[in-house]
């Protein structure tokens, strides 16, 4: 797709896809802030939405999902990045990456990244940064970051929750 043109699938649909797939796998979906007040009212297989964290700048940040599963022993923060049109989102990828290794409290983080609007090399940079554990220190290099396209997410979900 030419730069500057918009795709009709949206970031919202990427998030919908995550919810759709996980709902189908038996996960309950709830807002993080609602769950946090009364976690005892919910089950143990959960997809929580709008999950806060404190960014590397010290601001309040939000991630789309937190996946909790007692059955599969999982606690995964899921960050969705959809690049609908050429713009600044791809320039935020290094910022996102640094947040995953320095600011997000979970040890397992999934970055779901799709769309054709990213600058050439942006997605590759992110995948390489994750693979090479760029900029990590002895304290945080045990963070496990996964980078998936939507297609890879479908496959991961089917393999994990079989």
């Amino acid at each position: 797709m030419a730069k500057g043109k918009s795709a009709n699938i949206t970031g919202n649909q990427l998030e919908k896809a995550v919810q759709t797939v996980l709902l189908d796998k038996g996960f309950e979906i709830e807002m993080y802030r609602k769950w946090e007040k009364n976690p005892e009212n919910y089950g143990k297989e959960l997809l929580l939405k709008n999950v806060p964290f404190t960014t590397i700048y010290g601001h309040k940040g939000n991630t789309e999902f937190l996946l909790l599963s007692e059955k599969y022993n999982l606690r995964i923060r899921i960050e969705c990045k959809w690049q609908q049109s050429a713009g600044s989102v791809d320039e935020k990828l290094p910022y996102l990456y640094l947040n995953t290794i320095e600011a997000m409290p979970e040890k397992d983080i999934m970055i779901l990244i799709d769309g054709d609007g990213f600058k050439t090399g942006a997605k590759e940079w992110l995948r390489n940064a994750v693979k090479e554990k760029l900029y990590t220190t002895a304290e945080n290099n045990d963070t496990n970051v996964m980078v998936f396209s939507l297609a890879e997410f479908f496959t991961w979900a089917n393999n994990t929750f079989n």
């Binding site: 795709a7 699938i9 759709t20 189908d24 939507l150 297609a151 479908f154």
Partner: protein
């Protein structure tokens, strides 16, 4: 004494010696979005294992008019077919034809005879009265348990389907059939030979009223699964996805994609068709994105859904395959 007669059947009769299910059966209902016109293009896209007779099980989770089932079952020597749909009327129609086709033919014979002797005005009255009765009676039918009541019901379904506007077999949100009468001089309400052929072909079929996910529970090795879901609307005004009381929106398209990935990992051969959003918006990458791991082929279709004849152009549709 045995009486011999010269068969009038088409050339396929020679093949009958080798494959008893090559009957010339075709869909018994007119079906919006039916695939008969696409079969020639589809045949190029079927998996090679089907052509080599290695695939023995066929699944169609949105069977609709069943054009692809009829094609596959009569040309590729499958042994079992699993046909599913969420539409009650459709499923009981398949089941009645499978089990009680002769009684169904008797009912249809009567409808055909009664209707054809009426003038235009009386035909209209007959159609709308029957439609009203059909909608009222649906509350008296137990769709889950086979019964003799299903037979006249299915005869009415076929009658309405053959006489309604453009074969638009459409139900409103409450489940009522609401298509207006069509303008057919001589509708073929009873096609006896075809119903008999369909009945014979359905010997190999397991028919279920079920959501598309049911295929997961039944699927066996050596299977070919063809998905023909309600099409994603290609424009904001094309709100014809609701042929039934069940909606099929982007969420459902995504659930279906997820199932497609799951079945792919199990090693089945999969094919799926849908509308091509690029007919309207070349930038719409919905299917390219959700099926990015697979092959997408575009085929030419002539769709007659639009009531405006000038808008019934040839358009593209997509076919996704995992092979």
């Amino acid at each position: 004494m045995k009486v011999y007669e010269i068969s009038n059947r088409k050339s396929s009769s020679m093949n009958d010696l080798f494959y008893e299910y090559k009957l010339g059966a075709k869909p018994f209902l007119k079906w919006v979005g039916g695939k008969r016109q696409l079969l020639e293009q589809f045949e190029e896209l079927y998996p090679i294992e089907l052509k080599l007779k290695k695939i023995k099980n066929y699944y169609e989770p949105f069977v609709g008019g069943g054009a692809v089932f009829f094609d596959v079952a009569q040309n590729y020597e499958i042994e079992n077919a699993f046909l599913y749909d969420i539409n009650d009327e459709l499923i009981i129609s398949y089941k009645v034809i499978q089990k009680d086709v002769n009684k169904l033919i008797e009912f249809l014979y009567r409808y055909d005879k009664q209707y054809k002797k009426l003038n235009d005005e009386k035909r209209k009255e007959y159609y709308y009265e029957l439609r009203e009765n059909y909608n009222l009676q649906r509350f008296n039918i137990d769709y889950n348990k086979y019964s003799e009541n299903w037979i006249p019901r299915v005869a009415q379904t076929i009658f309405l389907n053959k006489t309604c506007f453009n074969g638009l077999f459409r139900f409103n949100s409450k489940g009522g059939f609401n298509s207006p009468m069509g303008r057919y001089k001589n509708p073929k309400i009873l096609d006896e030979q075809n119903l008999l052929n369909v009945s014979k072909l359905l010997e190999i079929a397991t028919i279920k009223k079920a959501d598309f996910r049911e295929v997961k529970n039944d699927v066996k090795n050596n299977s070919f699964i063809y998905f023909d879901p309600p099409y994603r609307p290609i424009s904001k005004t094309a709100s014809f996805t609701s042929y039934s009381k069940y909606n099929f929106q982007d969420d459902e398209q995504l659930q279906l994609a997820s199932l497609f990935y799951e079945l792919d990992q199990q090693g089945h051969k999969l094919m799926l068709s849908n509308s091509d959003p690029k007919n309207i918006n070349p930038e719409d990458d919905f299917f390219e994105t959700i099926y990015s791991a697979y092959n997408i082929t575009r085929v030419n279709a002539k769709r007659s859904i639009n009531s405006n004849g000038s808008k019934r152009n040839s358009i593209k549709e997509i076919v996704v395959t995992n092979y």
